[in-house]
Symmetry: C2
Subunit: 356 residues, 2 copies
């Protein structure tokens, strides 16, 4: 990675500024609702300062703690997993009504649930998903301006850099995040304005050409992806229904669209491992015919891959095809982040199941 | 301080157990509502484990962050201090309705508001007090079983031990807190059961004797405190209206009652400084006549003391007289904690203004 001339504090300051001005595009009359793990306190404080300086009325933080989540799974009565703090849902819906902006700092311990009874996890996830549905619908419908960013936490940094000390791993992951989000540039906001204009120009070009198919070639890959009739390329800035133009994910380097349901044929060899459900699947090779995966192999984790593909009928079809330039900063870090927010911006890719 | 044979983890474990079983006296069907600063995460996690092991249905934590509070004062628009997260109040009232137990971990930076505009602080305090009034009334009326404990945070520890490194100061304050709360005893819960029985016996003795006055003598002190007609001595365990017998403050070594409004006469020389409104008042000497302070001096901070006494008519009268045995563990630490939760349990004392 190239060196930045900025100090850690200067980069953190720019990163916070990007999340507030580019990510959520906070307006002076808005409150800001932040969700973050306890370990993200240094970033949350920097974000709060930037938000207030931008005229924010109130920054409210919903803190979460992975360790408490794990303690619950380990120690709570087995019949208590229907309990949920429903007031959180009501508070979020009220915040949407009040036209607040929302920022999530996402950082998770990849091994958080190792050894925990899957039934309990499934029960708690079901209760949470059901309770949160009214909020999820507001989010996916862009009822408000929202954005998601990330920051290093020790458990995650150790998994990305297993050979380094915790301190070194944290420093390396911070550097990678600052680089990938352009927070290491002296004029970070200016760099993003240029970047978003480039993404918009690419979207416009692809939409104008309205290609009927994409052809991917590489070692082990010879794949034709038909594009849906009337498909639209999206990515980059996104207008929320309240009129603010924000960027839902930082970083974001992809433009993506919907593949044709049946016109996907050929072979793919994945260039990167897939981290999912607490497992790492490596050396993935699949063959598509008529839009469906008809053969699948993996050098490691093939059983997890097979179960994934058998989840439901949609799991063997493509939900998304995305283009990412090799010059994207995430790609240039040459890291596997084990975090979709980053890894999906590292290379052109296809995604199985429902488009997301 | 005498050495304990227990490790830090063993003492933390016992402290958490005391807060759950002795402090809030959590019942198996209850949820536990915890309020705590971010820095208290290690104690909150230990408390959560103990609570779940006691059958708790759900531990919910309202985290607070002094640094964010200060950032708001420094950076937020001056006309935004009427904003308040009212959903917090509704969530607390709902929790009272559901018969949840409440635990507050109180730890504050004594210098948090240094240099901040007093008008902003007053505005925010007024808005918060008004919004929280329905909850405060439930608390002071013991509608639910609640308790307050403390834990060291770096900003506080550095003030108590200004000559030590932060690490040493934290370790010393932890030791003092473990000792004062009896968490350093192998059978800490048993020690509290004995202690609470002793406090109950002292209360019963004092109530049976129904003394008409107390006479305090010491260097510079010769004070007669008449006791109110029909006064009742209280302290130690306290029954909440939901029937649970908890201990509102950990530690607690005092029994206290209401003085007579007019029958307080003589001189007092305080044995300890008074930390209030961000200032330290030292060498306090006052003279009472007919229930009112008629003369007041201090070696340091006399102006703050004078303003304090002139707050309102009640400020020159006694609101509480409390007896604490010299054998109380807080007294034996020989520390000034700069935290009323501790300092009021270090020695027999009188308190000005309304009884609390």
């Amino acid at each position: 990675m190239p060196e930045s001339s900025l100090s850690f504090e200067e980069k953190l300051d720019r990163y916070a500024d990007l999340l507030v001005r580019i990510g959520v595009n906070l307006q002076p009359h808005q409150r800001l609702q932040v969700s973050a793990p306890l370990e993200a306190a240094p970033l949350v404080r920097a974000v709060a300062r930037k938000a207030y300086e931008a005229g924010c009325r109130l920054v409210e933080v919903a803190w979460s703690d992975d360790a408490l989540t794990r303690i619950r799974y380990e120690s709570a009565p087995r019949d208590s997993f229907e309990e949920y703090p429903h007031w959180r849902v009501r508070a979020s819906l009220e915040a949407v009504e009040r036209d607040d902006a929302f920022l999530t700092i996402h950082a998770a311990d990849p091994d958080l649930l190792a050894g925990i009874d899957g039934e309990l996890v499934a029960a708690a996830s079901r209760v949470a998903a059901q309770a949160q549905r009214p909020v999820s619908e507001k989010v996916s419908g862009f009822a408000m301006n929202w954005s998601i960013g990330s920051m290093p936490i020790p458990s995650w940094a150790r998994r990305v850099f297993p050979d380094l000390s915790e301190e070194q791993a944290m420093a390396r992951l911070w550097d990678a995040i600052f680089m990938a989000t352009r927070a290491d540039r002296p004029d970070a906001v200016g760099a993003w304005q240029t970047h978003l204009a480039n993404l918009a120009a690419r979207r416009a070009y692809l939409n104008e050409r309205a290609f009927s198919a994409l052809h991917f070639r590489g070692p082990g890959t010879d794949l034709t992806v038909g594009l849906a009739d009337g498909h639209e390329w999206v990515g980059g800035a996104w207008p929320a229904r309240n009129g603010r133009l924000g960027v839902p994910n930082l970083p974001t380097d992809e433009v993506f669209t919907a593949p044709h349901r049946d016109r996907v044929d050929g072979t793919v060899r994945a260039t990167k491992p897939l981290s999912t459900r607490g497992a790492l699947i490596e050396g993935i090779e699949v063959r598509f015919s008529g839009g469906r995966i008809v053969e699948a192999r993996a050098a490691r984790g093939e059983d997890v891959l097979t179960r994934l593909l058998d989840t439901d009928e949609g799991a063997r079809r493509l939900g998304e095809v995305a283009l990412v330039p090799a010059s994207a900063p995430v790609a240039q870090t040459n890291l596997l982040f084990l975090n979709t927010l980053y890894d999906e911006n590292a290379a052109s890719h296809i995604a199985l199941g429902r488009a997301g």
